[in-house]
């Protein structure tokens, strides 16, 4: 005797699969300038709407409009433009290098350049990012040497990490870039701890945590929000929603509920959603969140709405799970083209200057690549010593590792 029909399991599906016509009509895009800019000390309860809208500055005409506009000078915007172009060129060259067998692996940022490049400019020296593997713009925008990045990708004799790490798992304490781990979401809660430490020591430094849409499903995401909220840690909790976690569309991580930004509301954390392809909007929101943290007002959660235009990695073929033209249909466009149009509208850039900048940047990146390759690539030329394999497991090498190093004959 049962009054109910058999239960069925709901498994979310993206709107379109390969062969279909891309459709983002479900992504509601508010007009640029439409979302208000609250005071940094606003009551989180009063700004809940910001978790469900999208903060945008650049309109279709390339103009910067609304209350989040007007923070960056011409020079700063041109620098941002060059940083994004550098990252894209760097990606393109390293992608080819991987295809040429010069390294084993690479991950691009295509379409997501504005987020890490603009965010970095809202931080100060001494602040610490806890990035994922898709925020190399933080390094580029902070002036980290491109040759060092390439040497890491090549695992060569100049690799700052001595060949121990998979390509793109950079580390630079000096540049506020925490060592990247392959284990997803672990760094999210570490960032909160780092921020708590800064508060414990009455320091003025803040931390920034980074995570992708897919990894918000990891338990460390939840732990980070609890700790950040409980201790009002000076941390910016960034979520880069690029719609895809390898082959899995963001609905698999989202449980069909609200937005990723909305996850912060249950913890009492002010949560903002921003156009991730709008350099000006990303910077403005990052600046707002950084100021909140610095004024000891606690954490802020920011969801960057963007699109992973490239493959997940060099080991991935997106045409197996999404339409090939999906990135062209993405309604928030391309961050480089959008900033380019804005700079032209401002009268500080032109098609000619853009072409010239592309050529200059390509020359710079190729020169860096030649230098990096002179120190070796994964399978040719200089490489780290096998002795380096045994170093750094502990501060001092314990006897059992010394024995193993001797056995290895190094």
């Amino acid at each position: 005797m049962n009054d109910f029909r058999p239960l069925t399991l709901h498994v979310p599906e993206p709107a379109v699969r390969p062969g279909g016509t891309p459709d983002f009509s479900n992504v509601k895009i508010p007009k640029a300038g439409a979302v208000p800019r609250p005071e940094v000390n606003a009551n989180p309860e009063d700004i809940r709407d910001l978790a469900f809208s999208i903060i945008r500055v650049l309109n279709r005409a390339g103009e910067a409009v609304g209350p989040w506009a007007g923070l960056l000078s011409d020079e700063e915007l041109v620098e941002g433009m060059r940083n994004m172009m550098t990252l894209r060129t760097f990606d393109a060259r390293m992608l080819i290098a991987q295809r040429q067998g010069k390294t084993s692996f690479y991950m691009q940022h295509l379409g997501e350049e504005a987020i890490s490049c603009a965010f970095r400019k809202a931080l100060s020296s001494g602040d610490m990012n806890f990035p994922t593997y898709r925020q190399a713009g933080l390094l580029i925008a902070s002036g980290y040497p491109m040759v060092d990045m390439m040497c890491q990708v090549y695992s060569n004799s100049r690799d700052p990490l001595k060949g121990r790490q998979l390509p793109v798992m950079y580390s630079s304490k000096e540049h506020g870039f925490f060592t990247i781990s392959g284990n997803l979401a672990t760094q999210y809660v570490q960032a909160v701890g780092w921020a708590m430490a800064s508060a414990i020591r009455n320091d003025t430094k803040i931390a920034a945590a980074w995570i992708g849409d897919g990894s918000t499903a990891e338990s460390d995401f939840h732990a980070a929000l609890v700790f950040a909220s409980t201790y009002k840690a000076p941390v910016i909790l960034n979520i880069v929603n690029n719609q895809w976690a390898i082959s899995t569309f963001q609905g698999i991580a989202r449980g069909g509920a609200g937005t990723f930004a909305a996850r912060g509301l249950g913890f009492g954390i002010p949560s903002l959603r921003v156009d991730g392809n709008d350099y000006l909007a990303v910077y403005a929101v990052a600046k707002w969140a950084a100021e909140r943290a610095r004024r000891n007002l606690g954490p802020t959660l920011v969801e960057y709405v963007t699109y992973r235009a490239g493959a997940h990695s060099t080991s991935d073929d997106p045409s197996a799970y999404r339409p090939k033209t999906e990135s062209d249909a993405w309604p928030l466009g391309d961050p480089i083209i959008r900033l380019k149009n804005h700079l032209i509208v401002r009268g500080v850039w032109s098609e000619e200057r853009h072409k010239q900048a592309e050529a200059e940047i390509l020359d710079t990146v190729i020169a860096a690549q030649k230098e990096a390759e002179s120190y070796g690539t994964l399978h040719a030329g200089g490489k780290p010593s096998a002795r380096d394999m045994f170093e750094g497991v502990y501060a001092e090498m314990p006897p059992h590792l010394r024995r193993q190093r001797q056995q290895a004959g190094v």
């Binding site: 990490l161 781990s181 701890g193 430490a197």
Partner: protein, 337 residues
């Protein structure tokens, strides 16, 4: 010098280090205001304030993950997981992060962190208050694993662990918190106040990590033990009359192989005892190392006396726990082999 329980010695170690080094912070579940479910942090919040000793949400990965972030900032967190049985949610942070930060960043980021966790059985703790997960840590490159067996060692080892530049797993046998326990559950327990090793120096001192201690010299065989099993082994030797040399390993990684090999080469026999389950337990590593180092001096097979390969049961506590009778039988059989 003062008489202390192991609980008091552990608290004293943290007190000493918090006073000496303002980078030392202590937190965990119920660790702050209340002073810990085992009282190991009692009074620390009152003395050092809420930003040095505080309560944490019930999230082991959150506790360890934030502590790793603090350690990379430059603090020296000494954190608590309420029971070793509950460390699993933090295992990713411990194995993938704490253990590997120095290596993967080529020394740019380091993790001077101590994770204290009450361990071991013999208290009717059932499946989730009795486990001995040390082998899950000793298998991980980059971690140090310490198991004290008395108040004097606990204080000196904990101070050394807090000062150590690498992450240290500090397993505290909760069965030994209030007094030594030799497995004779039918007899009253003697408190630490009646025991020599309950005598603990005041102030700062350390026992180096990686040094074992010979707790009973003997010539007939070598017994390798740590934690509660040190007292069980002593009782078994006394009751069988076998002149066993009993070594308290104290640190599992790094391991004091010199002391172990010197002893086994002298005695020619080796029995290994631990509470943890047998298969792939730390005893397997010890047996392999002794066999490699002492093959030509061995006069009998190396024997392991351990917990059974089952989850830790409740009602069958004393059938599971390797008590003096079971250890004693192994000593006799090893002598006769």
């Amino acid at each position: 010098m003062a008489r202390m329980t192991m609980i008091e010695a552990i608290r004293d170690a943290m007190d000493v280090m918090m006073a000496r080094d303002d980078r030392v912070v202590v937190f965990g579940e119920d660790v702050g205001y209340f002073g810990g479910v085992f009282r190991c942090t009692a009074g620390l919040q009152q003395k050092y304030g809420k930003t040095r000793c505080f309560d944490a949400p019930i999230s082991e990965s959150g506790i360890v993950g934030t502590a790793i972030g603090m350690a990379t900032y430059g603090l020296r967190p000494c954190i608590e997981i309420q029971f070793a049985d509950y460390m699993y949610p933090a295992y990713d942070q411990i194995v993938s992060e704490a253990a590997r930060l120095r290596y993967r960043s080529n020394g740019e980021f380091t993790c001077p962190l101590v994770i204290r966790m009450p361990t071991g059985g013999g208290i009717f703790g059932g499946q989730t208050h009795s486990q001995s997960p040390e082998a899950l840590f000793t298998h991980v490159a980059g971690l140090k694993t310490v198991v004290p067996s008395n108040p004097y060692d606990a204080k000196g080892l904990l101070i050394a662990a807090i000062e150590d530049p690498d992450p240290v797993i500090f397993l505290e046998p909760k069965r030994l918190y209030n007094g030594p326990f030799d497995g004779h559950h039918d007899r009253p327990v003697t408190p630490w106040s009646k025991h020599d090793l309950g005598e603990v120096p005041a102030g700062h001192f350390t026992h180096p990590l990686g040094k074992a201690s010979v707790v009973r010299e003997g010539s007939a065989m070598t017994v390798l033990a740590y934690g509660t099993m040190v007292y069980v082994a002593q009782a078994a030797a006394a009751e069988t009359g076998i002149d066993a040399e009993i070594i308290d390993l104290r640190t599992l990684v790094p391991l004091d192989m010199d002391t172990i090999a010197t002893s086994v080469r002298k005695t020619g026999r080796c029995v290994i005892v631990h509470e943890a389950t047998l298969t792939s337990g730390f005893g397997a590593e010890l047996a392999a190392l002794v066999q490699e180092a002492c093959f030509f001096q061995l006069e009998a097979p190396i024997t392991r006396v351990t917990g059974w390969d089952t989850p830790y049961p409740h009602a069958q506590e004393w059938d599971y726990f390797p008590g003096p009778a079971r250890v004693g039988r192994a000593l006799v059989e090893t002598m006769e082999a």
